[in-house]
Symmetry: C2
Subunit: 497 residues, 2 copies
């Protein structure tokens, strides 16, 4: 037990470093003076090195080995904690310090180039930088695949969604690829018959939108006594344990995006806040990877908040806070706004029907990049062809095509699928929750999320990393993750009315 206790102490310290990094990251995105960026970059890099050293130290290796041999007396949670410690250790030690350093340099170089290249629609200037990133990622994936006994793509995916198998993603995504293009056309045909959307006329002052966002967060149950809502360039959920901070950005002419971003980030924040308190600071008390995380934001944003019930509860609040009146502000129009489906170029602006197609495209391309089946210079054409095939429109340029996301220049591979795996999970969880408690939907109509959370807390949030993501989903819903609930959901929402 002594080795186990020592491991816990070391991870408490690692977790404190992670929490400090969370506040620093929030600070940097919201209020840090811009001229402090170089000093901050150095500071964060030193903390990263420190955390890496602490994770991979020989003492840590010895303790893990020791606890492995005398671990028979561990409780179920302690046992899972050691499994998660090993997972962290495995990823941190698989690659050399040299590769870590080369990655960091190449990513920072490529990301800076990407900003300019995207602005100037100049993929040619980005391509050689991407080549370097891709080569490094192939090296990292190969080394980890060898060490973990999985496929190279799985080795990368495993950082974000532990234990996820490439084959199972293929099955789910191929199913969506079969279903969605035809379904999309059906929805568009039906919506073409609708009268034009009314746009609630702006400008909507930032203070009013802030108050609206805050009030909706309060309705949902965001703990403002230990949390904040602020502004940043991209919305995110961050902060630290016991100190949840989300951000949004405001468009004076369109309040609807910021409002849903706030609900989305609230979902992330409430998940983090609801993780098991008794395991704070330990790996088993962490969030269960990005698929589950995204399911928690989408469960609020896409599943709960876009129900007829909640939008009917939401619309008088919107009218009051933004001082709006007239047909554009009525609940029926608000429902239509939040159900609008279209063939768009940009993933982050996509509706829930087309979104998985954007993800599918990236998933297929990054697998081809990793396997070397596609050359960097052919990436732009491949992107445009696949966009046309899946979503039915062709990007007029690379800025709104292959260069729209920061992920690849930033060296983030294996992350994209979790967006849509999260959407599938959210649909499946919401279906099960409603089945378990038929009071959930009527309560949403009253702005009462507590029945939903009464199901979510024991089934997801309080489970931390006790189970694998797939086990967690299966235990909560009684079935393995599939596309069924998602398909049922979009059919009901987009074709029935």
């Amino acid at each position: 037990m002594k080795a186990y206790q020592e491991l816990e102490a070391r991870h408490r310290r690692l977790s404190a470093l992670g929490n400090a990094a969370g506040i620093l990251n929030w600070d940097q995105a919201t209020i840090m003076p811009s001229g402090s960026a170089p000093a901050r970059a150095e500071l964060v890099a030193e903390l990263d090195v420190l955390a890496h050293e602490m994770t991979t130290s020989s003492e840590m290796a010895d303790l893990l080995a020791e606890v492995q041999s005398d671990g028979t007396n561990l409780s179920e949670w302690q046992h899972a904690n050691v499994r998660e410690m090993n997972h962290m250790f495995k990823h941190a030690t698989a690659i050399t310090a040299d590769l870590v350093k080369r990655s960091a340099l190449a990513e920072s170089d490529a990301e800076m180039t990407w900003r300019e290249a995207r602005k100037n629609n100049d993929f040619k200037s980005l391509a050689p930088k991407l080549d370097v990133i891709f080569e490094i990622k192939r090296e990292e994936a190969a080394v980890k695949a060898e060490a973990f006994g999985v496929s190279p793509y799985e080795a990368l995916l495993d950082q974000f969604d532990p234990g996820r198998m490439e084959h199972s993603v293929d099955v789910l995504f191929d199913d969506l690829a079969d279903f969605l293009p035809g379904f999309l056309q059906q929805v568009l045909d039906q919506q073409a018959g609708n009268p034009d959307l009314l746009i609630p006329p702006g400008p909507h002052a930032e203070e009013d939108q802030f108050k609206l966002g805050k009030r909706v967060m309060e309705v949902i149950g965001f703990p403002f006594e230990r949390g904040r809502l602020d502004v940043s360039h991209h919305p995110f959920s961050g902060g630290a344990d016991g100190d949840r901070r989300i951000t949004t950005r405001y468009d004076k002419d369109d309040f609807t995006k910021s409002l849903m971003a706030v609900i989305h980030e609230t979902g992330h924040a409430l998940y983090q806040d609801g993780l098991p308190d008794e395991w704070r600071g330990q790996p088993v008390g962490n969030h269960r990877g990005m698929t589950i995380h995204e399911s928690q934001s989408l469960l609020l944003e896409m599943q709960a908040a876009r129900t007829d019930e909640f939008i009917r509860c939401l619309s008088p609040i919107v009218r009051e806070e933004l001082k709006g009146s007239g047909p554009a502000w009525e609940e029926d129009n608000l429902i239509k706004i939040y159900r609008k489906v279209e063939r768009g170029l940009i993933r982050v602006d996509a509706d829930e029907v087309t979104y998985p197609l954007h993800v599918l495209l990236r998933y297929r391309l990054e697998k081809a990049i990793l396997s070397g089946d596609i050359k960097t210079m052919d990436l732009s054409g491949a992107w445009n062809d696949m966009m046309e095939q899946l979503i039915g429109i062709r990007p007029p340029d690379d800025a709104d095509g292959v260069m729209q996301d920061v992920h690849w220049p930033a060296g983030i591979f294996g992350y994209f699928p979790t967006y849509s795996l999260g959407a599938l999970t959210a649909a499946q969880l919401f279906q099960s929750a409603k089945k378990a408690d038929p009071g959930i939907l009527p309560a949403l109509g009253e702005g009462d999320f507590s029945p939903l959370f009464a199901w979510l807390n024991p089934n997801i949030r309080e489970k931390g990393c006790l189970h694998s993501p797939d086990e967690l989903i299966e235990k909560a819903t009684g079935e393995p993750l599939s596309t069924d609930a998602f398909k049922t959901h979009v059919k009901a929402r987009y074709l029935a009315s």
Copy 2:
């Protein structure tokens, strides 16, 4: 050289932890949600433990021993860096982890009791908690005195003002004790003949005071591209390397205190910002203790900013930003406001003539506490007697007497003298600077601090910890620290006109 390089790397990491703590501390004092306090306390405690472990590790001890034996090739700065590393190591290893933990618990307990006790003017409830603190401090001082070969008080003072000797403080403070009470009476007699002060009528809106403070900081040269001005309960200068953040608080009826607090904190911030860039993250690149730090804030606030020259430059800015006009806003009245001397009870509100007497009282009492010459229950009476003897007024209660400062409940012993040693240093530095460049005063009249800083940068800021505090003062001014410049300064300012 390898051991030395490894020491530098370890200290870079320690410094990153310190910088992270700086941002966390600023965050906590300015914008952290209050309900996040317990989680933040745990986070900070874990980082403290981590930093202590890193500072005292056996590897650190081995590296310091190794570099000691092969250190002949070190440059002057590297040599000083190793000296500072040893100083940190010495303080961190002198006391046991058990004592560190007992201190932290007792201090947090006493500080919480102090808040209530002060509010209720109830010294009796605080006394037993202080007893515990005093006992721990006596233990700490004894252990360190033994280890360092200095007196127990010196062992504590050495944390804040390295190398400062008790005897030299006695000499300086006894001199002030002889001089100030009589001088104070002279000043009061002279000011009694003045017409009543005019008070610029408020209320002064917070936004206006913020703009005024910001503008004055810009005049002085505060680097807002890598710094901020915010609000907190107590003004402070904090942040991190390359990210200087100061705070103030606003009184709607009196702008003068906040304005001088801003100038004071700007002095601290510019000192930190001006430390040698090539030694950032290394002990030798740190500030040179609290006497020098306080000299840098007082050099701006008390020496430069209260000159006739600068106040004449300041007053039109004040009128403009606060939209004031009339005799109360004229420069002659502003000068009188900033020269007002009185016998007051509260240290933090004291003018520069009475301030050292407040410090002297605390210095004498904390030495008596440490030596056991005074009992805790007799502290209140001793405080009041000494207050009457030194400043000529007797506190009506303990809330405005012995309980006014957080230092003792917080376990901070040996810090108080640095306030007045800093005031003496500021006077001596300003005198030398003016002598070296007669253009400094006329430039202040134009709101131009660059001649002053042109002297300050090479003589103080860029020296970091290359020399001891006393050597630094002597090299900069040609003389050891004395009371001469301070006495000359207050005589010229308060009796001449």
